[in-house]
Symmetry: D2
Subunit: 407 residues, 4 copies
């Protein structure tokens, strides 16, 4: 597999012109391929190396979240035009030999937050060792699982029109509560924009309006879909000539929802890609968001323990068919359950964020309660987590826990 | 398998004292079993026979939704006490020989509504034929799938305290917009309450405060979780002496979300059940909502086409991490896709509601967009639905469509 | 589902003219259907009621094996002609309400034998209770599994030419060692032949040459393929006008190989069938033996313990690429393993015959040893069967064992 | 992952003392590890580089089969003693960056042979390109599948006693027909023995009696079990102090049976391994041959077309419960079927040898016919291989075929 884009995980991402951290149609292609080509794209981890493999979460606490999601690309595809579908086979995802580890962060509510930041407001960190296809962590004993490796972030460059739409609608939301922490939306921020090979005034103009990479949008982007794993085939809408495919934020594994925010197991790595085109495919297939075909090789654990949640929040307040609230309750129920086996809440929270958890919208029409379910594979634990008449026994955790930020 | 509760699908549900359609601690047990017992429970369909196997949706249009969810039970379990977990093995789910069909309704926005009622406001109906483990419909050509049979509704009687909590919190929500159609919550309504064997003043008091069966709640209830299928094992909290297990609303199949409201394939049928107890299990396992173990026999289609949705609604408005909005967009994307193969929107909507669709909360932390995915098994169609360079070909539907209400 | 063929499990099979127990082209059709029809076929158990639900294996010891495999049929299909493929959807397989149990026999070496009859020469019996989709046995504690229900025996009537071929080649084999016990082949035997509605001289002629039902042959027949389960679609060659589809020997479950001879869980039951035709399909698809598409609903246990066997037999003798010997060793290895947990050899043998075991020909070219594997699903046991540092613990079997024959 | 054993695929295997190609207790350990250690072992391909990535099968035709199965090892494990079980987690299997291809050989009947060498007696070759997790071949259009990577050959050194047993029993078989081609067994052959770091007289003695690596035996060895894939856990008997674990013959993929002899996709590559011990485990678990736990990540194709075979051979001769003959017929049936879509017999043969085919012993007790089944995943083809009323259409193969040996 020929390497199309090479990165240096020891250098600053800003110094590497094959990376960028904003979405803008003017970012120049860093390489060009033909339909049918197969190639390797290396990627730095989503923080561009801000996080270390150690036992302090100080780096999570102070991470600069405007300097994240350094993407490799954009890659031009010969013949790609707006309205085409760019067909991307994710042939493989792997670890860089020099970087055989990953991390999961619970972000501080004051800097990033997460799905359960009301319950877990402080920065915490778990580091993961990769044992071939398996991940395990010195910070979370008793659990090991096969990774479902995937790019958290992948998509084509937006057109100027699409970019304008994004900025308009997100600003509208932001303006409804501009002082909220965490923020309602991440608006363009030129100071830390890395616009790839764009220079001078063109760079400055693009940096000022380039969309942040945080949310998933019509082009895909930061979808954090664990099922986009190696072996899957994705159909991306093309908005600019050449397509401009960029990717990064590789995850060794992730549970549905990526609930700790940086809930996946984050890593530097590579993606092996094959591209082709369906001319005019956006209209042919009425594609608004990317669609994809699933992979024949993903972790399959046959046996699951499932937790339910309904849209009544922790305070007892009733919400109307709110799947987000319901899934939060399912998560909290699972965390409370796992704590009975000796895990701290933070450990359990991190397990749900990283292991191949299925998070489902089970019922969404029975007013006023949405019902969400969380499926926890029982086979990932070194001990039996299923209920029995005797009740749970604590597993010897040996005092291990997620790392904390200093003082 | 001995039949513990027998129903008559040709008689009115009100005339059968083994049924009830409200939740209340005072409803008398209609049968008592011992831990370890296995038994069959017959159930009427959720509307108690209001819907017919014909080609008009008039019955859907005018259905009385206060007279639904006739449950078989409650069943007392010897030795069950508040705080125990009632372990329920769903050994089998099946069709009654005299009633080998089912239906799916798109409910009128003015009477029930549904997940996409802004797009599909009118009453429509599809009838389904059961060919052994498969379902097919004269109203929706070109699709046949293996059912994932399950009770839409199952759980134990609430305590008076829990009932009071339900009524309080749902009334609070209702009062925020009491005139909304569809309603924000279904409050107690004595007129059409069927309180089983409760009579006289006790019946009237209970009917006035008995919780409606519509939403899922702490005890389980109307969860509409397709994964609660035959072969699964469920742990229900017990709130009253004897437990009082009731069940009904059997589905031949359902997609995650049950999006057309009556989106499952509804049927009369039976449940084969085995019960046991974990004494004190609620505290032992910190159970708030039921938990369950999945079944080794459920439909497994290896190949899925997945649709993404983000929390930007059809009008382009930005919502904040709203999984409900995101899943709605994934559903709309899938419907638009299926229409290219010749389906009407209503047919596509009904397919998503009934087939074994996986609806996942894929990303829920990337402000401001939640990302939901909908996985459509490709093997359920008589034709190839995967994208190719030539674009989709329409399948000959022969003019079939969902039934409509009169004039 | 309309019942096309009804049986009486309390009457003698000989008295029912919708049954037959030999293969012959002249057996008259007992019913006729059209392509596209769906219908139910009831079947007696393979012994026609010779075995009882009790705690003695005397019935197994003395069973008359020339009076077995009473098949329901033959069924004529309008338009079917020699050279067509008869497409059979096995829509469902189920239990008759009056007969909710099954049995597994280890047959005496002197009367039937089995795959391991050198080790287990005596008649033994296990009776099974059906708990919905699950089977369990008072004779084999600690194990319960989801059934993979299927007809052990199904196929179309042979032509006279094909029948002659069968008789010729099996007689040739038989004649190489005519006194062997168990016999090398079961040749025609008029005395106990049940030729359905055939009467008089025609009956006598056909009885004298009708092929026994024991082996699988080109038309399918007694294949005992567990994967022919409900939800599968089978393509059968047609040899006579009308096809003449017959079926029986229903199994609630079976492991690959059906190793105890009557190794499946045998039962009376019903098959729901849909038929259609591919005209000229035998030549179009070069079909010699039936082919089939697998079912989306079969038991899926994610986790297996696998045993290997090579073609060196128990005495240490080397065989040349003999998959039969290799699989026998894999079976013996698994039995020896299960005995460490408290099972008798006979119990372990019966588990391998009945549970959804995968038996694979893993390597067949590495002279002189074939390598076969046996995959045992770990989730069917009430206890953990995987190896650990402490070694196995015996499960309390309470003295239960397979029933024995008297004296 | 630290590399414990490094190989040079461009050097001759004889020149590398970390390799050996015979089994003997005296071969010195080339590295020592501790229980709990994880490490990488590089391996040359099974022919030690005799086969090239080109379009001639001359190299297959003339390959020296006494110089194959160069294994990396033996590896000593601290504390391992005879009677222990060596627990080997196969953490990962992968391709060497400098060698991103593989090959499948149909071996000449006169030099190696294969399962169907009566039908396909000539040397042929297919080369495979690895596209990430997928394999495809310029010699076999229209098919691409996810690899199930595994070591074809892995196990511990035999004791002198075990070695003597092997030699004795294989010689006995060989002597029954010493001139047979292919040979009945591969006996010790000192000329081409590579005994690792053993030198001098000790080397010569060991070379003269060292067991050839061809067959699987009690210790495992050349099992060619596709399910021993990355993510699985294997329990190997230990026969000598330190264990002496050796491995090689890596397959990118293989169908059950590895029917073309070199039927897998053969490659150089690496294995990531974790070792631990169960002291006294051989007796604790009554282990004769290795046992293993399956992997949660292996290719899962949901939909299979299954072919049956019975123990009547191509000439019409009847064999007695011979699973080998039955599986051969299932293979021939599948080959004949695939030819209708445009494949040559050799292409079809190679597909069955390499793709993730399931080969099952379905019925093994119904005298005189064994029944074997071959499950072909339909999703690996670029076209629809399932039967329909119109019959098969040939796929445009563009004249591609397996490479041939020179005139």
């Amino acid at each position: 597999m020929k390497t199309l884009i090479k990165v240096d995980t020891t250098a600053s991402p800003e110094s590497q012109d094959v990376l960028h951290n904003r979405w803008h149609p003017d970012i120049p292609m860093v390489a060009t391929v033909k339909p049918g080509d197969e190639f390797r794209v290396e990627c730095v981890d989503w923080t561009g190396g801000q996080i270390r493999d150690d036992d302090s979460a100080q780096d999570i606490h102070t991470v600069d979240l405007s300097k994240v999601h350094y993407l490799s690309g954009p890659i031009g595809v010969e013949g790609a035009e707006p309205g085409d579908l760019l067909v991307v086979d994710i042939l493989d995802v792997g670890v860089l030999p020099e970087s055989n580890w990953g991390f999961t962060g619970i972000f501080a509510k004051s800097n990033g937050g997460g799905f359960l930041d009301e319950h877990y407001p402080d920065a915490r960190k778990a580091c993961w060792n990769f044992s071939g296809v398996y991940a395990n962590s010195r910070h979370i004993p008793g659990v090991e699982f096969a990774g479902i490796m995937h790019p958290g972030l992948i998509g084509c460059l937006p057109s100027q029109d699409l970019l304008d739409t994004w900025n308009r609608r997100e600003t509208t939301l932001f303006d409804t509560d501009p002082d909220r922490v965490p923020t309602l939306a991440c608006l363009p921020y030129a100071d830390t924009a890395h616009m790839g090979r764009l220079t001078g005034d063109a760079r400055d103009k693009a940096a000022a309006e380039g969309a942040r990479t945080v949310p998933p949008r019509e082009h895909g982007g930061n979808c954090d879909i664990k099922d986009l794993t190696r072996g899957s085939k994705v159909y991306f809408p093309v908005y600019v000539k050449g397509g401009g495919l960029s990717m990064g934020d590789i995850h060794f594994s992730q549970g549905d929802g990526e609930i700790t925010f940086c809930g996946a197991i984050e890593m530097a790595g590579y993606l092996d890609i094959r591209v082709s085109l369906i001319k005019g495919g956006v209209e042919k297939y009425a594609v608004l968001n990317p669609i994809f075909e699933t992979s024949p090789i993903k972790p399959e654990y046959g046996d699951y323990l499932m937790f339910e949640g309904i849209s009544v929040d922790e305070s007892g307040q009733q919400h109307f068919l709110d799947a987000t609230v319901a899934y939060r309750q399912a998560c909290l129920n699972a965390i409370n359950y796992l704590k009975l086996f000796g895990y701290t809440g933070e450990q359990a929270y991190a397990i749900l964020g990283t292991a191949p958890i299925e998070g489902r919208i089970s019922g969404i029409v029975d007013v006023p309660n949405a019902c969400a379910t969380l499926a926890l594979p029982t086979g990932i634990f070194d001990f039996d987590i299923k209920p029995n008449a005797d009740g749970p026994s604590a597993f010897p955790m040996g005092g291990a826990d997620l790392a904390r930020a200093a003082g």
